[in-house]
């Protein structure tokens, strides 16, 4: 199936367009209406939670925060196509997938708020790695996870996320090659949001697509409309089938656009025009899904407004629990370096407690 969408021939998988119209494609797994509605709810919740975090940052209540606005369909569509116990390996912009997996919003907020305890995600429950800030490094972890699951014959897969800029790091290329050589059940998703901070996608590589990088490693690779949750879902579903059948990894370039700043510390006016942003606004994954659901009468405008309120109240509550929770103790800043704290560190801790 992937051959029919060879990115080198300029092909890209698109199922639901900007107007919320769906054109099913033979053999490509299609989300049903109840799944689309379920996905929409998570996307909306993500959007509201994300925007609340930005406003908290502006109020000085949240440190630097990386918004996910515009990219919600990608981690979400991907996880909807996988099992709850497939590994989810993120960069730092995958809030929608995080929520879909059932990880509390407070953990996302809390990590960025700056307390390590929120990155304590039991693996048997979530099969999720915490945010990985060193660009592209997490993809090698993905390959390793996929190898281990193959070794254990669990049928579990590992999905790893990276940005367009991340495809320039050596780790990206090594991760693809490792997984390919091992025929491991890894799925690599590039969230091509067109910028790596200020650096536009065109300056990152001269190939017309990022997807085609996969062919150098013998990996079936495809470009999909990343603002269309159905395209992402369909591609990941097929990739998962390959992976579970022992056929090895797949690379998916999901084309999207970062509607917000890189982080709250970034000033996008330095490197991109307002017109360009305007061009992408109508392609917003949330809007098109909404259009579809409205046209199908699976949703009403009133219901959407009510949901927004409900989600905002939820986001506020989640943040409040973070903001009012205890800061780490000095012991906590020591105790997790090793299973057993070395004597020399114990002494230092004691001395510093007296000093502070």
């Amino acid at each position: 199936m992937f051959e029919k969408f060879d990115p080198r021939e300029g092909k890209k998988l698109e199922i639901m367009n900007e107007n919320g119209e769906i054109t099913p494609i033979n053999e490509i797994p299609l989300m049903n209406d109840s799944q689309i509605l379920e996905g929409y709810l998570v996307m909306l919740k993500t959007r509201v939670a994300d925007e609340w975090a930005i406003s908290l940052q502006r109020q000085g209540r949240m440190p630097t925060f990386p918004p996910t606005k515009g990219q919600e369909a990608i981690p979400l569509g991907a996880l909807m196509a996988l099992n709850q116990d497939d590994w989810f390996v993120i960069a730092y912009r995958e809030l929608s997938g995080w929520l879909y997996r059932g990880i509390p919003l407070r953990n996302w907020y809390g990590y960025y708020y700056g307390n390590e305890k929120y990155a304590h995600l039991p693996t048997n429950k979530y099969h999720t790695f915490p945010p990985s800030v060193p660009i592209a490094s997490q993809l090698l972890h993905t390959s390793g996870l996929a190898y281990a699951e193959k070794f254990k014959k669990t049928g579990r897969l590992a999905i790893g996320f990276v940005g367009d800029g991340g495809t320039s790091e050596g780790d990206f290329h090594e991760a693809l090659n490792f997984a390919a050589v091992w025929k491991a059940g890894a799925i690599f998703i590039i969230q091509n949001n067109h910028y790596a901070i200020s650096c536009p996608r065109e300056k990152q590589t001269i190939t017309p697509t990022l997807a085609e990088k996969g062919f150098a490693y013998g990996i079936p690779s495809i470009q999909v409309d990343g603002n269309d949750i159905l395209s992402v879902y369909g591609a990941v579903k097929m990739a998962a089938e390959r992976g579970r059948n022992g056929l090895g990894p797949t690379l998916i370039e999901a084309v999207t656009y970062r509607l917000g700043p890189h982080t709250t510390a970034d000033d996008p006016t330095l490197y991109r025009s307002e017109e360009e942003v305007e061009l992408w606004k109508p392609k917003d994954p949330l809007i098109r899904t909404e259009k579809y659901l409205l046209s199908k009468e699976l949703l009403t405008s009133e219901k959407i407004e009510a949901l927004k309120e409900e989600f905002l109240a939820f986001a506020k509550e989640e943040f409040q629990s973070v903001e009012t929770s205890e800061d780490p103790t000095i012991e906590e800043t020591y105790n997790y370096h090793y299973k057993e704290l070395p004597e020399i560190m114990k002494e230092q801790l004691k001395e510093r407690k007296e000093r502070k």
Partner: protein, 327 residues
């Protein structure tokens, strides 16, 4: 003269040198169009063109590795690692090649490269954005490591670094990037690498610090004066090769020695300096030397950051104890 921030002084050093030397090129992530995430390279692409100042692809190993080729062929690369915590993909190129080419080729191929990187905490940053790893770089034979603490020094030291025939890790204290302003002369001037600066003369004790930590150290000196403790405060400025002479001479005068740095303690700069003092001024010491440092823990996320940073009060307390200690 005009008052500049440390960041503006870095920018000024760049422009001053790039006007004089057409072979200087600078690149790194976001340094071109945007002028760097901190704006250290603002306006450079505009003035000197995209061939001399450009956005590299997102690959630190590539940034350092290509600088090697450029340097060998006669260019003068001044490269930026966006944060010192993201220099690690380049570690291999820096340690395995940049630091070693001169020795490996017995001087045939040399590496006049400056590797700039903002470092240090206290800014409520995301993971990997707050570390102070100067000791790791200082440990590598073949590298020089420089850390300015003021705008004036930043300009003079960066110009010296650019003119230096050997590779320099130039670490910039991002916590004070914009918080101090100082008169900085127009045009080129240099500050010798390997020379510390005596900030205040004193005879009760010798205190060495550097980088952002100088802010609290300087404030502590004022407090200590009120308590009758006269501190000889030395800004190390160069981590390696450090200015042994200034330190030893001072300790011989004061008989008491203390190092203050934000970085982890174990195997740190303090460990090295104290060893040197013990080796060369043992008979002058009136008390055991003291190191006041960051803990040997991973730098905490913002809510635990306070456990890492060293306050003026702590410096005062420790310095007082040292000054009044008697055997």
């Amino acid at each position: 003269m005009r008052a500049l921030t440390l960041l503006e002084a870095v920018n000024d050093a760049y422009k001053t040198e790039m006007r004089l030397d057409p072979f200087i090129v600078t690149f790194g992530e976001d340094v071109g169009v945007e002028g760097g995430v901190f704006r250290a390279t603002t306006g450079i692409q505009k003035e000197f063109g995209v061939e001399r100042c450009f956005d590299s692809i997102l690959a630190e190993s590539g940034i350092a590795g290509t600088a090697i080729g450029m340097a060998a062929a006669g260019l003068k690369p001044v490269i930026e690692m966006q944060f010192s915590g993201f220099a690690w993909p380049a570690f291999n190129q820096i340690v395995s090649h940049i630091a070693r080419f001169r020795n490996r080729t017995r001087g045939a191929i040399t590496m006049p490269i400056v590797i700039r990187m903002p470092y240090g905490g206290g800014i409520r940053a995301l993971e990997h954005h707050s570390e102070s790893y100067e000791a790791i770089w200082g440990h590598i034979p073949g590298l020089k490591v420089v850390i300015p603490s003021t705008p004036y020094d930043a300009k003079g030291l960066l110009i010296s670094a650019i003119r230096d025939p050997d590779p320099i890790i130039f670490m910039e204290p991002k916590r004070v990037y914009r918080s101090i302003k100082q008169e900085v002369p127009e045009g080129a001037y240099t500050i010798p690498i390997g020379k510390a600066k005596v900030i205040s003369e004193g005879d009760s004790l010798t205190m060495v610090s550097y980088g952002a930590q100088m802010k609290e150290a300087t404030a502590a000196v004022g407090e200590l004066k009120k308590l009758g403790v006269s501190v000889e405060l030395i800004d190390l400025r160069t981590i390696y090769p450090y200015d042994k002479e200034t330190i030893i001479n001072s300790v011989k005068k004061t008989g008491r020695f203390m190092v203050v740095h934000e970085a982890h303690q174990t195997f740190g700069v303090g460990a090295e300096l104290i060893t040197k003092v013990v080796e060369e001024a043992f008979l002058y010491l009136e008390a055991a030397p003291v190191r006041l440092t960051g803990p040997d823990t991973i730098f905490p996320l913002p809510r635990g950051e306070r456990y890492f940073m060293i306050s003026t009060d702590e410096i005062v307390k420790n310095a007082k104890n040292l000054a009044f200690y008697s055997i």
